[in-house]
């Protein structure tokens, strides 16, 4: 269990030695020292490198928040969009160009508060992209307000008398929305995180990776390395990732977050469905164009 803070210099040296530097931009992450997101900005290049996906064919799309600064720190095509709108923009990119590997990144507020209306539709359409959700249970960029995954009783600047709202369970939600690949990782376990990112990218369809990540600046009590490190547990070896009911049961164990692949299935992607529409139109076109002969 790694509960030590992670230093930027160490990470950069590691990346240098791994030959993954080509995926990193020259911009230094703006995150606070010790932030869990450093594991992710290291993990994604590793996963892309191992998968043989060139930076020029990758688009990293983000919303707004600490996590959403991510595209600036990787050397791929990047689109830093609006708060909550990462999935719709990513949908447009992938629909227009199948050849691109599209990675959507964002935080718990971005994805499940303001952008919560888009997640079910990306999932049910089974659009072939990877959604990395950085969950720190707080709004960090605006300096520590309550998020939709903050625990009841958590004290923040907008909940000075403690949060009273039931936290959402994003894993449970995406499982029921129809996501075809659902996994969970923890920023304190970077090797496992990188492996899961790689699997998520390899999946053909909508893959959702929930990443638990401590906010070292605004959360001293709740989702800390100490707290999370003590509670996370690997997905049991006997778990059947093809069993939706079992995955849902795992997702509901919120006091023992399960790390690993919870669920995986295959069905036609959005591109498959749109290609089928084109085929139907070619065989059985309706109506006619209005141009005088």
């Amino acid at each position: 269990m790694n509960t030590k803070p992670i230093y930027l210099e160490d990470k950069l040296r590691e990346i240098n030695e791994s030959g993954r530097l080509v995926y990193r931009s020259r911009s230094m992450p703006t995150w606070c020292p010790g932030c869990g997101y450093f594991s992710i900005v290291d993990g994604l290049p590793g996963a892309l490198n191992d998968s043989g996906i060139a930076p020029k064919d990758t688009v990293v799309v983000s919303g707004i928040g600490c996590s959403s600064r991510f595209p600036f720190f990787v050397n791929t095509y990047g689109f830093h969009t609006l708060h909550g709108r990462v999935l719709p923009v990513a949908t447009g990119i992938k629909t227009a160009n199948d050849a691109l590997t599209v990675i959507a990144v964002g935080g718990d507020g971005d994805g499940f508060a303001i952008g919560g209306g888009h997640v079910p539709h990306a999932a049910r359409r089974n659009i072939d992209l990877t959604y990395l959700l950085f969950d720190n249970g707080i709004y960090g960029l605006t300096k520590g307000q309550t998020s939709p995954t903050s625990a009841i009783g958590f004290r923040t600047s907008t909940s000075p008398y403690e949060n009273f709202d039931q936290p959402l369970n994003p894993l449970l939600m995406v499982l029921t929305y129809g996501a075809t690949w659902v996994g969970q990782a923890y920023a304190g376990r970077p090797q496992q995180l990188e492996a899961l990112i790689k699997q998520a990218i390899a999946h053909r369809g909508f893959s959702y990776l929930h990443i638990l990540s401590p906010c070292v600046t605004f959360d001293k009590t709740d989702k800390t390395y100490q707290q999370l490190g003590d509670h996370v547990a690997d997905v049991p070896a006997e778990h059947d990732a093809g069993d939706l009911a079992a995955a849902i049961a795992l997702a509901m164990k919120v006091d023992r977050p399960a790390l690993g692949l919870l669920y995986r299935t295959m069905r036609p992607t959005l591109a498959d469905s749109l290609d089928a529409v084109v085929e139907k139109a070619a065989n059985k076109g309706i109506g006619g164009r209005r141009r005088a002969a």
Binding site: S27, A54, K56, Y77, T95, L270, A281, R289
Partner: protein, 591 residues
């Protein structure tokens, strides 16, 4: 002989009123007449609301409907009665001769026909029942009757009936029989009115389109790659038609979960180099406005069609209005310049739609094409160009030597447009962002940078004022100094032209100017026009005089406003009356 005949068909929803109007306008267009047509119907899908199908068939090009119809067909007494007064002298009123229900005193159309109007009682129900065994086809009986009475060729009607009811075997046959029965009755009727169809133009290769269908043709001819939309009246038919046509050409269309997602996906697709568009109405545009700001900041091409309806809020979804101009021009956080164009007729919808893709690409910006319900739903005969008149690619590519680590996505250039790379291009990697950024696309909040980038985003659009092969504005009528100038945008310009012709026939020197390019604004041309008019009147369908205020702010000249929100096209008589009042007042002051 010139032909100029306006026919209104009035009935309840479900009586086949709109269908009859549709067959009639297509048959008359098929016979070679020019058509302009606008139907009014209730919002409810079913029920007993009033429907009015109205069309004007001419041999000359016209720009609006007439206030008085030449022929009124009443499929239903109750709904027909209020319209009898709108029939011109020596015009025709056709109505049910044998009502099957007892009507109260004054409940029958015949009691309302004025001296001078010519009544034609027609046993529609009986003829329909004798011909087909049901009263349902009386709308076809009426069409046959019109054809017989005015000696119109049967063939175009029968062709349309066959096409419209293709695959519904018995229905097509019944409708043909009903039409023939009506036709026989028409030929036997002694014509007393002064309505006449002269010979139609020959060789006019026109097609019948409404504004939304013309937008679709423009999109297809400009090579649209992707469309993302969410249903909303009166824009929905754009998506419905594209949903049929785009897959035939291997293109992708997706119905999104809301308008925010629609514009976001449009911008996402535009970022990859696709020609992408969405279509909505005022409430949808409100939802899209934050994302438009991102499109402006990130300099990504996108096209947004906005068909306006009555507002604010949900407003009057099935009535026309021009009250979303301000939102189209300005709606977004911060200084958010975008291109806004507004066609004035159906052919303009086609041109503006295609040109919007060119402009979005060339100037790397969202382009809003403003329509309104009247324009979206109004049918006109349009002569389509033989070949699409649109540039297939207006992107500014990056020179090879500029690629690599030092690539500046937002390079400051003389025309303000920076060469862009598309995802998949080696050496062209960059991040686009809604945050203020420097030439490399890196976040930068320095005052000089913000100033320079703000200037770039504004000034790059000025070239759109000279965008090739596009009518930015146009003056009609008398040249030089005039007593009356009518200045308008959007569909209301048609009524302005009609008013201009009327004023000129009354001996008033008059000119009318349409402004299609609303942002950036053609300041010099509009100011010059205003300076040449003794009185300038700006008629528009909103309460705030949104266009008049824009004109005043941009040109520094004062104009007279005529703001109306009737939910219907501007009345030509209102324009004339206001113009006469203003001219008289000006002359009194001068004397």
């Amino acid at each position: 002989m010139r032909t100029d005949v306006q026919i209104s068909i009035c009935g309840s929803a479900g009586e086949g009123t709109i269908a009859a109007g549709d067959i009639l306008r297509n048959a008359l267009a098929g016979a070679g007449y020019r058509i302009i047509s606008f139907d009014a119907y209730p919002a409810e899908i079913r029920g007993f609301g009033k429907c009015v199908a109205r069309l004007r068939a001419t041999t000359e090009q016209v720009y609006s409907l007439k206030e008085k119809s030449d022929v009124l067909v009443c499929l239903n007494d109750e709904h027909g009665i209020p319209h009898v007064a709108d029939v011109r002298d020596f015009g025709a009123v056709i109505y049910e001769a044998k009502s099957i229900t007892r009507l109260a005193e004054g409940g029958h159309v015949s009691a309302h026909v004025r001296p001078g109007q010519v009544p034609y009682p027609l046993p529609m129900r009986e003829l329909s029942e004798r011909a087909t065994g049901a009263i349902r086809s009386r709308n076809l009986v009426v069409l046959g009757y019109l054809a017989g009475l005015y000696a119109l060729a049967k063939d175009p009607f029968l062709r349309i009936i066959d096409t419209k009811f293709k695959g519904k075997g018995a229905v097509a046959e019944a409708n043909r029989k009903a039409f023939e029965a009506g036709f026989a009755a028409g030929t036997e009727t002694f014509k007393l009115d002064m309505v006449a169809f002269g010979p139609a133009a020959t060789g006019l290769q026109s097609v019948m389109l409404n504004g939304n269908a013309a937008v679709v043709e423009g999109c297809l001819d400009a090579g649209i790659d992707n469309f993302f939309g969410y249903p909303i009246t009166p824009a929905t038919t754009i998506m419905e038609r594209l949903a049929i046509e785009m897959p035939k050409r291997g293109k992708r269309l997706l119905q999104t979960e809301d308008e925010i997602s629609a514009i976001a996906a449009t911008i996402g697709a535009g970022y990859t180099g696709a020609r992408a568009a969405t279509a909505t109405s005022g409430p949808g545009l409100a939802l899209m406005s934050e994302m438009l700001g991102l499109g402006i900041m990130a300099e990504v091409p996108s096209v947004v069609f906005v068909s306006q309806r009555g507002g604010p809020s949900t407003g009057i979804p099935t009535k026309t209005e021009q009250s979303d101009l301000n939102m189209a021009l300005y709606g977004s956080p911060g200084d958010a310049p975008r291109i806004v164009i507004a066609p004035t007729n159906v052919e303009g919808c086609y041109r503006c739609a295609g040109k919007a893709f060119e402009m979005a690409e060339r100037y790397q910006t969202p382009v809003i094409v403003l329509l309104d319900l009247y324009l979206s739903n109004r049918y006109e005969t349009v002569v389509m160009p033989a070949r699409p008149p649109f540039e297939p690619n207006c992107d500014k590519p990056v020179a090879k030597q500029d690629l690599g680590a030092g690539y500046k996505r937002f390079a400051l250039t003389p025309d303000g447009v920076s060469p862009r790379t598309l995802p998949g291009t080696a050496g062209g990697m960059h991040v686009v962002t809604g945050l203020e950024h420097n030439e490399f696309g890196r976040v930068n909040e320095q005052p000089d940078n913000h100033e320079a980038m703000s200037r770039k985003r504004h000034e790059k659009l000025l070239a759109a004022l000279h965008h090739p092969d596009f009518t930015h504005h146009k003056r009609f009528g008398d040249e030089g100094r005039v007593a009356l100038g009518l200045l308008a945008w959007g569909s209301t310009f048609g009524e302005c032209l009609a008013a201009m012709f009327r004023a000129r026939s009354d001996g008033i020197r008059c000119a009318a100017m349409k402004v299609v390019m609303l942002q950036p604004f053609p300041v010099a041309a509009v100011a010059e026009f205003i300076d040449q008019c003794e009185v300038v009147l700006v008629p528009e369908l909103n309460f705030q005089g949104q266009f008049a205020r824009l004109v005043q702010a941009e040109t520094g000249r004062t104009v007279n406003r005529l703001d109306r929100v009737p939910g219907a096209p501007m009345a030509v008589a209102d324009i004339i009356a206001e113009a006469q009042r203003l001219i008289a007042a000006t002359r009194r002051k001068a004397a």
